[in-house]
Structures are given as C-alpha cells and as structure tokens.
Amino acid sequence: MSVTLDLANADDATYALAASPDFARDGICFAACGSGLYRSRDGGESWRKLRTSSELVTTAVAVSPAFAQDRSVFAAVKGGILRSGDAGETWFTAAFPAPPPVFSSLLGSPDFERDGFLLAATIEDGVFSSTDRGARWQPWNFGLFDLNVLCIALSPAWIDNETVYAGTETGFYRSANGGRAWRHTGFPAECAPALCIACIKDGDSRATRLIVGTEQHGLLASCDNGETWERLATDSITGAVNQLHVSSRGDGSLTVFALVEEGILRSDDAGVTWTETLRVPGMPTAMLPLADRILLGVDGRGVALLPSR
C-alpha cells in the first residue's frame, strides 16, 4: 500500500474523497481531511494542499458533475460550505446560521449544469439544499424527525422523480420532492444508524435497489423504496460498513464497493454476494474506486493509492 498523501499529524483523518467525472483524462481528485482540502492532478500520485479561506477541518467534498465545463468544487467545513469555480484555486464561502453545522455529506445533482442543485447533510441540523450552485443554502427538514443525518444519496432516476434518501442516527428517510419534505421508511429501528447508502437502478425496470450500510448489522437492501428490507451478506460483514460506492464497468454493469473495518469488499451482483478485494492494515475511513485504482483514506496515515484488482 503506497501512501501518496502523508498526513503529518497522527490525529488527522481523511473524511471524504472525490474525483472529477473525467478522471481518466484529467486525473483530478480531492481529499477532504482534518487538516484541510488536498488536490491531486495526477490521479492521486501527488497531492497539494489547497488554500481555502482557512485551514479548517474539511468533512466533505463534492465535484460538479459538469466539472469539465464549470470547474466547480464544493467543500464542507465547520459552519460553512466553500465553493470554487476554478478547480480549487480560489474559494467563496456560504455561511450558515449559528450554531455552526458539521457536515457529513455533500452531493450535487446529476443535472447540475442545468439545475445547480446541491444537497448537504449535517450531523445536528438536518439537510440543507441549494438551487443556485452553492451560493445560498436553505434548511429542508420537513418531516425529518432525526436531524443527525449521516448520509444522503440521490435516486438514479433523480431527473425524473427527484427522490433523495437520507440515513440518520435512528432511521432512514425518503424524500420524493428533492429533499423539501421527508418521510420515514420501514427501515428496522434496531439496525440504525444508517451510515451509508448505495442506490442502484434495478435492470431495465424503473425500480431502485437501495443498499444501506449500518454500524452493527452489516448491509440491508430494499427494492421497494425503503418500505421493506432484507439483510445481505451477514457472513462476510461483521462490523460497521462506513462507505458504499457504485461504479459502472465498461459493459454497463455495476460493481458495488463496501468499505468495512477490515478493508474493501466488492459485489458484482447488486449486493447479493460479496468478495474481499483488499485487506487494509489500520482503519480505513474513505474510499474512491476509480477505473484502474482505488484511493483509500486510512486513519492517521493519509491517502493510499491501490490497484483496483
């Protein structure tokens, strides 16, 4: 395991990783760490710390789906969200009402070029949304009884149905109107918290298969928008599932990666069976599977670059 971003401070951690949609060509990726935001222009081989407004703990990072055109990057720091229109060279801050929220997740609409829509999940203040490319943010928590939101994900059919999912400390919520109003799903209460979500388009049908990673109960899946759930892979996963990532293979089929305490698992059949891809010494905190490599954030060490197979 070659560590390409070596974090000097042992207490530092990598919270999130994000790459340009055109990563194969431009090799641009970002790492949100306790010591700030880092950028690589060579596919994660070398990193440069970006000069954000200050060296704040950066807990989430998102790259615009239209990055090739707009060069927009968003980074969440305590109390605000930074946005850059030049791939991270200069930054603008959007402030939030006090007390300062701590962000757990940040994502943009697949149709960002047209709608400029962003969602940000926070640990104590629910979900915020922006419809003007991150300049202004509004809280959208109607029906969200639990404001400790740990993860959010957009439906693969977002453009048609505006459906968003949110995993919280005590349950799992769904919004059918872009996060404006939320409804609790049938997620089993004893399996909370929901730490991460993967949404997979179920074949040719319009249904979405949801896979949720939990702290102590492995993976759960739902094929009916969260109304009923079944447990997955109970043998191979014992501890917390910290992150899920869906990658498209060249032939259009999907691979799901799961970041667990011991390393990375992968599934080529929408989460039904899992195989161990990588065992990692230390505690992995974030992963970003890319075409030919995996970027992995390891607690206290930094970001490592690994071959994907």
Partner: protein
C-alpha cells in the same frame, strides 16, 4: 309604497301528524328546494346564488358559490313538512362541508337523485327497509369501484391540478400545490390576510407556539424584537411561579452544568419572578435566561403543548398535578435544542434534541387519534399538533383588490386546503363526475344478478344516481347532459368530458380528492336511505328554529 315586513324570528305551527304518501312527497319537495339552490354551484364552471343577508334584509345580497355555505345559511323552508326534508339535506351538506371542505354540492345532487328514485320505487309497492338495506349493500360495491380508481397523488404539479379542480383559481392552486407537496396531509398551514394585492407563501423552519416573552427586557435584538439562543437548555413547567426564590435552584443547576442559555416555559410568572430572572441576566457571567408563558388558550391546549414540547426537547416537564415545583428540579428536567427564539408574541424551537424515535412514535400516535376522532374541533387540534411536530410550517398570505375579495379568497383557500389534505392522505379520483360514472361498472353485475325486486331496485337507483353529478356539471357548463354522456359512451374509454377544455378527457386531466368523493357518496346514500324509511311526520306547536346561521 308597501310596508316592509319584519324579519321573522319565530313561527307558530299548528300541531299535526302527516302520513304517507304526503310525508314522502313533502320531504322530497324540501330536499328538491334546497338542492335546487345548490345545484348551480357544482363543477368547474359554477354559477352563483344570491342570498338575502340574515342580519339585515335591506343590505346587498350575498353572492355565494359554495354549496356548503349556502346550505348553512338556509335556516328554514316555508312549509313545515318541506322544512323537515330540507333540514335533512342541510345536515348532510353542512357535515360534508365541515369535514371535507368540498363535495357538498355533489352530496346534495346524489341525495336528491337517490331519494327521488327511491320514492318512485316505494310508490309502486317496494319495501322501504329492504330498499335501504340493499342501497347500503350497493354502496359498498360503488365504494369498491371508487377504490379501484383511486390513485396516489404526488408532486406539486399534480397537487396543483387537484387544487384547481376544487377552487377553480389557478394562481391559488399553484401555490397550494407547492405548499402541500412540502407539508403533506398533516402539515401546519396558516392562511392569513395580506395588505398586498398578490398571493405569497412563506415557510418557517422548526416549530413555534403563539405565546411570547414575559418581559421586553429579555429581548436582545431590539431591531427584530426577538431573542435567539444557540444550544439552549429548556425548562418546561405548567404552574405559576410567584416567588423569585423558586427559580434559584433552576439557575444554580443550569450554571453547575455549564448552561449558557436557558429558556423557561412556565404557566405564568409573577412580576417578582420576572425581575429575578432579569437580574440573573445581568449578574451571572456567561449566562442568559429568557422566559415565555406556556402556550395554549385552555387547559387542554396547554397540556398538549407541554407534552409536545417535552417530546421535542427531551426534557421532563414539571407538572402541577404531580405536586412538583422548581425546587424539585433535576438535570433530567432540562431539555435541549439547537436553537430557540422568542418574540413578544411567539416562541419557537429549532432542532429539539429529544429522542427522534420517541418523537416519531408520538406523531404516529397522534395520527391514529386523528383518524379515530370524528369531532371537527378535536381533529383540527390534533392536526395542528402534528403539523407543528413535523418540523416546519407554511403561511399562505392572501392579498387582493378589496377587503371582500381577500375575505372570499381566504375562505376559498381554507376550504381547498381541507380537501387537499384529504387528497394527499387518501389519493385522488378522476374529477368532473367521471369517477362516479366509471365506478358504476362494479354495480352492473349485481344489477344483472339481483333476483329480489328490492335489491334490483336499489342497484338500479344507485346506478342512475351516480350519473347525476356528471349530468349536473355538464348542464351547469351549458351542455345537454344526455348528448355528452352519449359522446363518452361512444368514446368507450374510462375518461369523461372536460367542460373547461370542452373535450373528451383522460382520467388524469381532472382530479378530485378521493376521500371527498367517497364521503359524499356514503353520506348521500345513508341520508337518503334514512329519509326513505320515514313514514310519518309529527309537528309540535312551536318547533325550535335556529337563531343564527350555522
């Protein structure tokens, strides 16, 4: 010049008993008279009804287009026998209007058609009790047919379409569609009069109550007349605090636990207690306290608000009934929130730190209570509580060119909002009378199979009555109903005729709240069935008459 007659306040009747066939005929005449006054208001192209004002006959008449309001304002008919029939119809129409906010004219025409069909059958020797029994059985089949046609409604555009089919006011419908897409069936919506000429809406984060700061000295932002606390502790008590010494244990405990901001919600505070809190604000370093009086206009409301506040903030309330006072306060009594704000008239909480599981269960229990209660006032109160707990509210500001326009539009918005809640909760049906026309397919096999003459008559009466709302809508829009029904039959699909666009429409282009349509049908059948079994009318000498409308 003729002399003006005084407004009649009480009338003396001769006592008497009326038997058949007069009883049925006169009840029918009363129903017909009232329904005739309401019939023009049905459909998307309603005509209006002018009505003498009850308080002063010399004033300009009221121009009304709501069946429910018209019925509410009819307090008696001229003839005593007809009056009985009219009042039966009035009770049905008013109940529909109060419970659902829509569908009162539909219920009225259905009642008239079923009753009239029933009377004709009984005149030929049918049995009233058996007819009523079979009508109720036919109702079940019709309701099953409506269930089959019911579709869930989602998205602001579809909701706006539902609103438009109820209120026929496009700008208002657009806003209501957006609002209900966000707040859902139980969300809190305040409809208020505005001084501007336009309609606008506002969303408020968190929950708020109509009760404010006990002292203006506690306002920290004088410009906005508001105090906002971040990460406050919250103490909830339902009793009066008279002695400033009572608050000392609370302040000591708060300071010991490093609380920097404290919101006290108490039943009442005396001047001395308020002075004690104000003094604490000046003397204690890194500590601020503000106090508001407990919300609610009556003990029930106050108790509900305290229960909700406790669930939201996670604090254990101090209650008078348990003999507690502020001297008994423990750390468990302190609730927490991300933010709390208070102004002289309101206070609110954002991000209460109570257990979300407990909050979800509490809301679910309230929803069950809501479904189980029939009392309109109780339902309104429970709905308001659920709305608050959902974590946000909407306000719809109604502007207009004149006070009367604003007032009428506000009333329309409120009635539409009631029907919208039902639509969001229970789904929608094809509008414009189409759902009743289409659900008749479920009656057809029963009609063909029925061997008993009373049973066959019941299915036939309901089958024909179900076409009456559509017929009335077409007639009100200036069409010949028989001709339009012919076009629909020729088209052979499950659609109907859209009188606005003047063409045969798909089911989806006109929408009505399913619960409204089902309740209108159910109440009409029940009332008609009951009226058909009335055999004798008995009149007292001086019947009680309503002193005021409603």
């Amino acid at each position: 010049m003729s002399e003006e007659k005084p407004f009649p306040t009480q009338k003396t009747y001769q006592p008497g008993i009326v038997f058949q066939p007069e009883a049925h005929r006169h009840i029918g005449a009363g129903i017909n008279k009232l329904v005739a006054a309401i019939r023009p208001t049905l459909g998307p192209t309603p005509r209006t009804v002018a009505m003498t004002r009850l308080d002063d006959v010399r004033k300009t008449p009221e121009v009304l287009d709501s069946g429910g309001i018209i019925a509410r304002k009819v307090i008696e008919m001229g003839r005593r026998d007809e009056d009985m029939g009219a009042m039966l119809a009035r009770a049905l129409i008013c109940a529909q209007h109060e419970r659902m906010g829509d569908g009162s004219a539909t219920a009225a025409v259905l009642l008239q058609a079923i009753y009239s069909g029933g009377v004709h059958y009984l005149a030929s020797g049918g049995n009233a009790m058996r007819l009523r029994h079979y009508l109720e059985r036919a109702l079940v089949a019709a309701l099953d047919g409506l269930d089959e046609l019911t579709e869930p409604v989602a998205g602001k555009d579809e909701l706006a379409k539902v609103a438009e089919s109820i209120c026929h006011d496009r700008p208002l419908s657009k806003l209501l569609g957006e609002i209900f897409d966000i707040i859902g069936a139980f969300g809190q919506l305040d409809v208020r009069k505005d001084h501007s000429r336009i309609l606008r809406r506002e969303y408020i984060e968190g929950m708020f109550w109509n009760s404010g700061l006990v002292s203006r000295d506690m306002i920290t932002n004088q410009k906005e007349l508001q105090t906002v606390y971040e990460e406050p502790a919250i103490v909830i008590a339902d009793f009066q605090i008279t002695d400033p010494r009572q608050i000392m244990p609370m302040l000591e405990l708060a300071v010991d636990h490093k609380v920097e901001k404290l919101l006290l919600i108490a039943g009442e505070l005396s001047g001395d207690a308020i002075a004690g809190l104000t003094m604490a604000n000046g003397k204690l370093k890194n500590f601020e306290v503000m106090a508001v009086t407990g919300p609610g206009m009556n003990p029930d409301d106050r108790q509900d608000a305290i229960e909700d506040l406790a669930v939201v903030t996670g604090g254990l309330p101090l209650l008078k009934v348990t003999g507690q006072n502020l001297r008994d306060i423990r750390w468990e009594n302190f609730g927490r929130a991300r933010r709390a704000w208070a102004s002289p008239h309101n206070f609110g909480i954002i991000g209460g730190k109570g257990d979300p599981r407990h909050l979800r269960r509490h809301v679910s229990n309230l929803q069950t209570q809501y479904e189980r209660t029939d009392d309109a006032e109780n339902r309104g109160r429970i709905r308001a509580r659920i709305g608050k707990l959902m974590g946000g509210s909407a306000t719809l500001w109604i502007g207009g060119l004149s006070e009367s326009e604003i007032e009428a539009r506000k009333e329309l918005a409120e009635a539409t909002a009631d029907a919208m809640r039902a639509a969001v909760r229970d789904g929608v049906l094809p509008g414009g009378g189409m759902s009743y026309l289409n659900c008749r397919r479920r009656l057809r096999p029963h009609l063909n199979d029925a061997a008993d003459p009373d049973e066959r008559a019941a299915y036939r009466i309901l089958y024909e009555a179900l076409a009456e709302p559509a017929r009335t809508i077409y007639e009100n829009a200036g069409y010949e109903p028989g001709e339009v029904l012919g076009w629909i039959a020729q088209a052979g699909n499950r659609g109907g005729f859209d009188v606005i666009r003047e063409n045969l429409a798909e089911c989806g282009s006109l929408l009505d709240a399913a619960a409204v349509q089902k309740m209108a049908l159910k109440n009409a059948v029940m009332t008609a069935g009951m009226a058909l079994t009335i055999d004798v009318l008995v009149h007292h000498r001086t019947p009680e008459i309503a002193r005021s409308p409603g």
